[in-house]
Symmetry: C2
Subunit: 233 residues, 2 copies
DNA sequence: CGCGAGCTTGACGTTGTTCAACTAGAGTGG
DNA sequence: CCACTCTAGTTGAACAACGTCAAGCTCGCG
């Protein structure tokens, strides 16, 4: 029940809510943004942004859930989950290379605002508070990525999955019992392990009375136990 | 010999040279920075910044080589190598939590400039070009970290070490033959593998005439071969 | 009712870690 | 100048964790 106020702190946080940055804009500046943005709805599974393609906007997730991932050859690495309030494409603000450096796709039906990148740049230049807020967001993303990085490289499967489940419950769905809109394969991709290992590990968690899992419905019964598993590795 | 102009592009780039940001300052602003910074020399092995401690400055590496790493319990994850020109501690610019989110220590004797963090914040607020440059740096760091992240999670030991060696040659030492100031253990930590595996893999690379290694001196003979190993995994 | 995607299970193989032993070289003190 | 010690490097063997493969299962939907 510790949903809103004090979520269990997991190290491999996969998502982050924010977007206070627009609060620092003047009315005029906000109007400028409004004038230079469009809203787009993506269906489940559709690609929202494609790594390597030119971009002329920054994305903001309004509703839904998106997967932000890095592609290389045939393999992919999920960088984070973008929940409502997340910005995508800030790394493309660099003047030198305005391409997407990662891809994003919709886990579920997702609505996204596309904000013109030059407007974005202009506001950074003329509004120091806005710029500082963007720097904050980049910093937070960086910190979070470090933790996910650590989790995926230093923990073994039990720890990785425990961490992911706690993160989904605490940061994405904000309740201990949720209906997962992801397949086991997608869970596996998120935890950086094979589908079969996810299944086996989930079963173990069930046997140990840490969670219950009935199809897509997952409930975390013993969060402290899961947390202990995270910490042990 | 393709040192300066077109280094081989490795995916697990471990370091990044930059710091054009100060070019955008006015003379006055630069003077302000000069007034609010000190220079410190760290001996090899000394801790430059400690994760979790309060900070009142941003660091800039002037000479030497620093390890930037994330700590958790007993284990550590190296985030990047900071070569001269690298800034450390940008993620602490957030008003909310001015602590270091990672540690840094000196691989070799290293001189560092400590720049007052409030001066830094002030300049971000009043100079849009400077702010944009900082955002660029954060973005570049992020992109680079993604690649390292991918490398450490998706490649196996041959690929990881090959990538690291190419990166050291191309980005840090900028020559194909260099004297490594790191132990095998430190190499292992960088590549995310065990010391023994590093040794065995290095031996294999030697047998395959990809590198020569004599104590601390390493020469890359066949960079294309190493690159191929990276790409294969 | 039958098909197919997702899920589950077991067997097996591979990678890479761990442990333990051994070597080499550098620094130290008698 | 020679043991002594300590660290770094190296090697081999055993083991554990996971991924892969193959097969069967289940459930929703046409």
């Amino acid at each position: 029940m510790q949903a809103e106020d004090e979520p269990i702190k997991t190290s491999c946080t996969v998502a982050h809510q924010h977007c206070k940055c627009f609060d620092f804009l003047t009315d005029e500046q906000r109007a400028l943004i409004e004038k230079n943005r469009v809203t787009v709805e993506f269906k489940k599974g559709e690609i929202i942004a494609k790594q390597g393609s030119f971009t002329s906007y920054v994305l903001m997730v309004c509703e839904g859930l998106a997967k932000v991932y890095f592609e290389d050859k045939d393999d992919t690495l999920i960088l984070r989950i973008a929940a409502p309030g997340s910005l995508i494409g800030l790394t493309s603000l660099t003047k030198s290379s305005n391409v997407f450096h990662y891809s994003a796709s919709a886990y579920v039906d997702t609505t996204v605002k596309l904000i013109d990148i030059n407007t974005f740049r202009q506001l950074i230049g003329e509004n120091g508070l806005f710029a500082a807020a963007i720097i904050d967001i980049l910093g937070e993303n960086s910190i979070q990525k470090n933790e996910r990085f650590y989790c995926l490289t230093h923990r073994q499967s039990y720890g990785k999955l425990a961490d992911l489940l706690l993160c989904l419950a605490g940061n994405i769905f904000r309740t201990q019992k949720f209906v997962l809109p992801l397949t086991r394969k997608e869970l596996a991709e998120l935890a950086g392990m094979s589908t079969e290992s996810v299944i086996r590990t989930m079963k173990k968690f069930q046997d140990d009375k840490l969670i219950t899992s009935n199809g897509k419905t997952i409930e975390i019964i013993n969060p402290e136990g899961l947390l202990k598993i995270c910490e042990l590795g």
